[in-house]
């Protein structure tokens, strides 16, 4: 049976297991300049990963035995239809794509234009399309105002983008 608690335990164990067996051996070297009697750099990450792995397995065991002792503060979600779930996942995927797109676009399009696009995407995905005047005004003016503020007060050098099609204001 693969309920939520089981899946959660599995994810936790998988994460810490990957770190312990795949990442630490490769990405945590032991340089020569650390004296032998002092704990090496991989001591602490190893300890934490082993603890995390054990807790993940324990969580799976609890889930398998049924229940455990968790009390949830979350309000129970109403039942949702398959269509609703499909739309939810599409919206989430779009939001993640907007985040990733922002990171990719900043070096090309510049910080300002990318922020405007991200803001617009978030407003629309969050469901504010009914108030399109407010949405458009905020998505354009807010990044502009912030860019001017930080550019002039803290002298932050914002990337203006290699395409150079949108002025970076600094």
């Amino acid at each position: 049976m693969l309920n939520k608690a089981m899946l959660r335990g599995l994810l936790i164990a998988l994460f810490f297991g990957t770190v312990l067996f795949a990442l630490i051996p490769v990405h945590v070297p032991r340089p020569s300049f650390i004296p032998g009697f002092a704990p090496p750099p991989d001591m602490w990450p190893r300890t934490v990963s082993i603890l995390g792995l054990a807790l993940g397995l324990l969580a799976m065991a609890f889930a398998a035995l049924g229940g455990g002792n968790e009390t949830s503060d979350e309000p129970k979600r109403g039942p949702a239809s398959a269509v609703e779930w499909r739309n939810r996942l599409i919206r989430l995927a779009l939001a993640l794509a907007a985040f990733a797109g922002f990171v990719v676009l900043v070096p090309l399009l510049g910080f300002l234009a990318s922020s405007m696009l991200l803001a617009l995407a978030c407003f629309l995905l969050a469901g504010a399309s009914g108030r399109w005047v407010a949405v458009l005004a905020l998505a354009v003016l807010l990044p502009l105002g912030l860019q001017l503020f930080f550019g002039n007060v803290t002298h932050t050098p914002f990337p203006s983008g290699s395409w150079g099609i949108f002025p970076g204001l600094n």
Partner: protein, 497 residues
């Protein structure tokens, strides 16, 4: 001493000083309230002005900014679930639920009152206890520090919410992420890209973990949540509510003062300590994390209680305990003053002027807070669908401007997604954060102590301070195990019935 203080009072009570402090506090509150803009940034921004201001005025300006921003962080913590700086992370736990119940004004007023009291007591301790606290601070070596941090990490049990197991998992995750980057000897861990060599900064991790999941939740589950504004009303703090939290405020201020005086610990650890302690001893402990005013009082009194006390090692020993006092040390040097024992010999008048000025600033903080509470309360009337994307923009710009780093912004967004996954799996974010902040101090002091003792673990039991904390750790772990065991038996009984 009293004559000196009186003389200092007369010299410090000038319009220029009061204006500098007033402006500093107000600017600090606003900067602290904006997610991504931190107190360090506020103080750094003001550093160029100190080239042109008299010594006492410039230091007072920096102190005012520090205090203002430490309080200001609670505003965004309560209203938009985004701690302006790490020290307000515990304020989120109860502040945000209160705001959702339409009690934002009440929460803000509680935060303000506790901040001001913590601040005031901290200033008093700075004036009268600087010497003994500075001595205590020097006694805290790597082994004692390690014990203190181990004790602080047991607080994870207090902020885990429903499940201790998931709380500890969350803490492990935080401990692991904190190891990314350069370790104390200068060797790299998990440095898969050039940017990861400098590790993950606290600000993007903190804000990503708390603020962004709200946006993703709104986007994904918008068919359930209709994007309504929070309820309004109930803004006044009653005398009874204040009295109920007074014990936690005093205790929080005390914790803030002691931890603030020890270099390197800082207001976040103090706030976590105070919150955990308040939750453990309060009669309302079941309500903590669901909107308990006492939780806000504990967290906010402790982080502002640190502000004055962090000046103790700076002024009395000449060593900065954190980044902000590091900037202040720079400001002292620009002015040709060297903090430390000599300052009290050569510039006693300036020191007293500073003390008196800081007392003023507690009052100014209350005024600035009252002024801004009114204004900021209106934020809760903005509909969520408009507010959360605006918060995202503020975070992105704020985080980018800290060190002009696109990597930090990427960390912010990735941590937002991680935080959302944790939200879906009911893994609480607060233990992650306390572990992320305290983990490096715990590990570094463990390794430091063992380097000094050449691998001999008995180094951890050589001083009274270590023994006291060892005793406290055993006590708390025992208490937690008992509580968990009882809960387990109750659950079993409920199931069998």
């Amino acid at each position: 001493m009293w004559n000196d203080l009186l003389f200092a009072f007369e010299s410090v009570a000038t319009l220029a000083n009061v204006l500098a402090m007033g402006a500093g506090i107000l600017a600090g509150v606003v900067i602290g309230a904006i997610p991504g803009m931190t107190g360090t940034m506020a103080v750094t921004l003001a550093l160029p002005f100190t080239f042109y201001l008299p010594p006492v005025t410039s230091i007072l300006l920096l102190v005012a900014l520090y205090k203002g921003s430490t309080y200001g962080a609670s505003i965004s913590a309560i209203l938009i679930k985004t701690p302006g700086t790490a020290s307000a992370a515990c304020t989120v736990l109860d502040g945000w639920p209160l705001a959702q119940k339409g009690k934002a004004g009440k929460a803000l007023n509680m935060a303000l009152i506790s901040s001001c009291i913590g601040d005031f007591l901290s200033n008093i301790s700075l004036i009268f206890l600087a010497a003994p606290l500075a001595l205590l601070a020097l006694r805290v070596g790597p082994p004692e520090y390690f014990m203190l941090m181990a004790f602080a990490l047991t607080m994870v049990a207090s902020i885990s919410g429903g499940s201790l197991l998931l709380g500890v998992v969350s803490a492990c995750f935080g401990l692991l992420l904190a190891t990314v980057g350069e370790d104390m000897y200068g060797s790299f861990r998990f440095a898969m890209t050039e940017d990861m060599k400098s590790g993950l900064s606290v600000a993007p991790v903190l804000i990503g973990l708390f603020a962004l999941p709200e946006l993703l939740r709104l986007i994904m589950f918008r068919d359930e949540n209709h994007g309504q504004a929070m309820k309004l009303g109930d803004n006044r703090l009653t005398l009874a509510e204040f009295r109920g939290s007074l014990k936690s405020i005093i205790r929080g201020s005390f914790i803030g003062v002691v931890l603030g005086a020890i270099p390197g610990i800082g207001p976040s650890a103090a706030a976590f300590f105070s919150y955990g302690e308040a939750r453990r001893s309060s009669p309302n402990s079941e309500n903590f994390g669901k909107g308990e005013l006492e939780g806000i009082a504990a967290s906010e009194s402790a982080n502002n209680g640190c502000c004055g006390a962090t000046m103790i090692p700076l002024l009395a020993l000449g060593v900065p305990g954190d980044v902000i006092t590091g900037v202040m040390l720079g400001a002292f040097m620009i002015q040709g003053l060297t903090p430390g024992p000599l300052l009290f010999q050569n510039n006693l008048n300036e020191v007293y002027m500073l003390f008196i000025g800081m007392m003023f600033s507690s009052v100014l903080l209350f005024g600035a807070g009252k002024l801004t509470v009114r204004f900021f309360s209106h934020i809760s009337s903005i509909p969520q669908v408009l507010l959360t994307p605006v918060v995202l923009m503020l975070c992105i710009y704020g985080i980018y401007s800290i060190s002009s780093s696109m990597f930090d912004v990427t960390v912010l967004l990735v941590m937002g997604v991680v935080g959302f996954i944790m939200l879906l799996l009911n893994i609480p974010p607060a233990p992650f954060l306390i572990a992320f902040i305290l983990g490096p101090m715990f590990e570094d002091n463990l390794r430091r102590a063992l380097a000094i003792s050449r691998g001999d673990p008995s180094v951890f039991f050589q001083s009274a301070i270590s023994w006291i904390f060892a005793g406290l750790i055993v006590f708390f772990v025992g208490l937690t195990i008992r509580r968990e065991w009882q809960k387990f038996r109750e659950n079993r009984a409920a199931k069998n019935a």
